[in-house]
């Protein structure tokens, strides 16, 4: 085994860190919080120039054939500075979905994402289906799509949406322009921009149906595995920033005439945060490899284990960071509370802790039987 990042990945991570240091501070975040459109033209252009849009996609569509770990390192750095640019939601999510479909039509759309010719979001969830991505409540009847998608992370700026829907008993992926739909945009817990989309008997022509059946199921499952790994990468960035800030605070903040880090209970809290952080990092490395596997059982097991572990320990680190900071930790002017929101948010996307532990339990049963 080998846990070193390749030279290439290290370079990607270093570049991301430098880029964000120069272009994204806490003040940038606070401004972005109040903006309705999260695709900042100048940063979006810079990211394109850095090659991030094509990073994990095939060369045939203008990509660089990079790995999940490359993207994970970018997302980790983005999490560490609370960056809200919807890179994952508008590039990686739809991009991987289209790549996994692999049809000519799908690759053409992917190409236009890589070239930044358009903004496509993924609409995988709705209220009633919950976390079940393979059985959305929407359906296509005749040639009409009806129903509602919720929690679509579109950054406030997508113009088309990749939507799952049932056509008969087949999972189907359609690409729908948002113009004709009723879109309600709102703010997410982490400050990102989400949308509910109402498809009110939208006419679907053959052109808009990208694929159906097992191929879509596989593409959606594999894409969500990527998104789960990237949730964890983002959480790791945040956890690591929280730990570092809390350690620094404990060294400098004085109460009762001494730095609070001199109190044994605070020391042990910090040690717990540190040891958990170590293990979170190990799990991130693990999932960054395994979330890309073709073996469904191993992939899903790894993703569920990591998501469950992060939902537990990542959130705990954020809670502890607030507790050690005391009053200042619950204010909006300090970044600590914002990392806490990010952590809660990511602990709930693509399955929360309880859901993933259930899934592991169910997978275990399958394994034992198989």
């Amino acid at each position: 085994m080998e846990f070193n990042l390749s030279d290439n990945t290290t370079m990607v991570a270093d570049t991301a860190r430098r880029y964000l240091k120069d272009h994204y501070g806490f003040d940038t975040y606070m401004q972005q919080l109040n903006q309705l459109n999260h695709c900042d033209p100048s940063r979006w252009e810079l990211m394109r120039e850095l090659g991030w849009f094509g990073l994990p996609f095939p060369e045939s569509v203008g990509g660089y054939g990079g790995d999940l770990i490359d993207v994970a390192m970018i997302v980790r750095e983005a999490g560490a500075v609370l960056c809200l640019d919807p890179y994952v939601d508008l590039v990686i999510g739809p991009g991987k979905l289209l790549e996994y479909l692999g049809t000519e039509r799908a690759l053409k759309v992917l190409q236009s994402i890589v070239d930044d010719d358009e903004r496509v979001a993924c609409a995988l969830y709705d209220y009633h289906a919950g976390y079940n991505i393979l059985k959305p409540s929407l359906s296509i009847n005749g040639s009409k799509l009806s129903g509602r998608k919720n929690f679509v992370p579109d950054g406030g700026c997508a113009n088309r949406v990749l939507t799952t829907a049932m056509l008969g008993d087949e999972l189907t992926l359609v690409l729908v322009p948002l113009e004709g739909c009723e879109v309600t945009r709102y703010r997410g817990l982490d400050g990102s921009r989400l949308a509910d989309v109402l498809f009110d008997d939208v006419v679907i022509d053959e052109e808009m149906i990208l694929s159906r059946g097992v191929k879509v199921e596989r593409a959606v499952s594999k894409t969500v595995a990527w998104l789960q790994a990237l949730d964890c990468a983002r959480m790791y960035g945040a956890a690591s920033a929280l730990y570092q800030r809390t350690l620094d605070y404990a060294k400098t903040r004085k109460q009762f005439g001494a730095p609070i880090g001199s109190f044994q209970v605070i020391q042990h809290y910090l040690v717990d945060m540190f040891t958990d952080l170590q293990q979170l990092e190990s799990m991130l490395f693990m999932v960054s490899v395994k979330a890309d596997l073709d073996d469904t059982l191993e992939r899903e097991h790894a993703c569920s284990a990591t998501k469950a572990y992060y939902a537990d320990k990542g959130v705990k680190i954020a809670q502890q960071a607030i507790q050690i900071h005391g009053g200042i930790g619950v204010t909006e002017e300090l970044d600590i509370g914002h990392y806490f929101r990010l952590m809660t948010y990511c602990s709930l996307t693509h399955g929360h802790g309880d859901y993933h532990l259930d899934r592991i339990a169910a997978l275990g049963e399958e394994c034992d039987r198989g």
């Binding site: 989400l194 009762f256 507790q323 002017e333």
Partner: protein
């Protein structure tokens, strides 16, 4: 050993329940169901309604406007209040400065301040913490210099909940800068409209404005506004910490949360196996039961006139921990719905929702009023006697 409420108590509970149903503004219970908190006007309207009924200052002796209830009745009242979806009464007037005034205050002070608290007319806030005096409260620096006919107050308070709502602040100030830490601190009542007071908002991680910084620049406070004697401030502050509060554990509001959670199980599609969600609720239910029966014991002891010792510090620790756990569980049961910042913004979100903003705000409950770590230090000192 008798775990039944008496016939009278059950009747009392029914009366309260019926009254609540009729008198709680619909808007208020709707807000509670979303896990949100009311605006000032809503809160005050509600407290005045209670005040008019004589049910606001429920812990006070009758002579000052209390309803003359037993601790058990107060518990039942609080339970019915919470289950009906009304917010707790703001503690600063009724639970904090009120008892200080009727215990340590002069006849004039009682007459002047108590009626406004009992009616819900006057809103109060608490000026304790300062930027460098948080857990280490005794190192506070706000100075009140005694002049001929007033105190001249200079300094800064922080984390002042509802200072922007309040008419009055009760405040710990340093009257003798030469005395040792805990000594030289006095307890002063300050009119928030006095010139020289500036209130600046602190927004908290729920995105709301509950807290403030309060700056005092040459603020003149009448000498009559000193409660007790100069240098008694620390004694009064300690009195307040140990003062009986049968609602300190938050049992009533946790019952409300539990009921909401049970409703959520069937609605929420975020579990592969509903039994897992029920099981999770069961764990919280058991913890609440343990807290509740411990709380009952303090209630019963209060009614029998027995003091209840370190047990009540335990209630604060356990109660706040449980509130946080329940809130976290609700946010998780909400699944994807909890991704939404503003519960009213998303379509179709009218059904069960515990606002994640509430969950954010509840992180503060193990910090304010003496962090749980400080509570444990104090309790350890009592237990170990070291």
């Amino acid at each position: 050993m008798n775990l039944q409420f008496t016939q009278e108590e059950q009747e009392f509970q029914k009366t309260i329940r019926a009254w609540m149903r009729e008198n709680i503004p619909e808007e208020i219970s709707r807000i509670s169901a979303l896990g949100e908190m009311p605006e000032k006007s809503q809160q005050q309207q509600w407290e005045k309604r209670l005040g008019k009924q004589g049910w606001l200052a429920v812990t006070w002796p009758e002579q000052y406007g209390g309803p003359g209830w037993t601790a058990t009745q107060r518990y039942l009242f609080d339970l019915e209040r919470a289950m009906a979806g009304a917010p707790p009464v703001s503690p600063f007037g009724v639970a904090m400065v009120g008892p200080v005034i009727y215990t340590f205050g002069s006849a004039e002070q009682k007459e002047r301040w108590l009626p406004g608290i009992a009616s819900g007319e006057t809103l109060w806030c608490q000026g304790y913490s300062e930027p460098n005096a948080g857990s280490d409260l005794a190192s506070l620096k706000t100075r009140a210099e005694r002049k001929r006919d007033h105190y001249l107050v200079n300094g800064q308070k922080i984390w002042t909940t509802q200072a922007h709502w309040a008419d009055m602040m009760f405040c710990l100030v340093r009257t003798d800068p030469d005395a040792k830490k805990q000594q030289g601190i006095s307890f002063l009542l300050i009119d928030m409209n006095t010139p020289g007071i500036e209130v600046r908002p602190i927004y908290t991680i729920d995105g709301h404005h509950h807290l403030n910084e309060v700056y005092f620049t040459d603020v003149k406070v009448p000498l009559d506004n000193l409660v007790g004697k100069e240098g008694m401030g620390w004694t009064i502050a300690k009195f307040l910490l140990t003062h009986e509060r049968t609602t300190i554990a938050g049992v009533a509001d946790s019952h409300y949360a539990l009921a909401r959670m049970k409703m959520a199980i069937d609605e929420a599609p975020y579990y592969i196996d509903k039994q897992q969600a029920r099981r999770r609720v069961a764990e919280l239910e058991v913890e609440l039961m343990a807290l509740e029966y411990t709380n009952f014991r303090t209630v019963a002891a209060t009614d029998e006139g027995r003091p209840f010792g370190p047990e009540s510090s335990g209630l604060k620790i356990k109660g706040t921990e449980l509130q946080q756990k329940m809130s976290q569980a609700m946010v998780e049961m909400g699944g994807l719905m909890s991704l939404v910042w503003d519960s009213s913004s998303a379509v179709g979100n009218e059904s069960f929702n515990h606002s994640p903003r509430r969950y954010n705000f509840l992180r503060a409950c193990t910090i304010y009023g003496g962090s749980n770590e400080i509570q444990k230090n104090v309790l350890a000192k009592m237990l170990l006697g070291l």
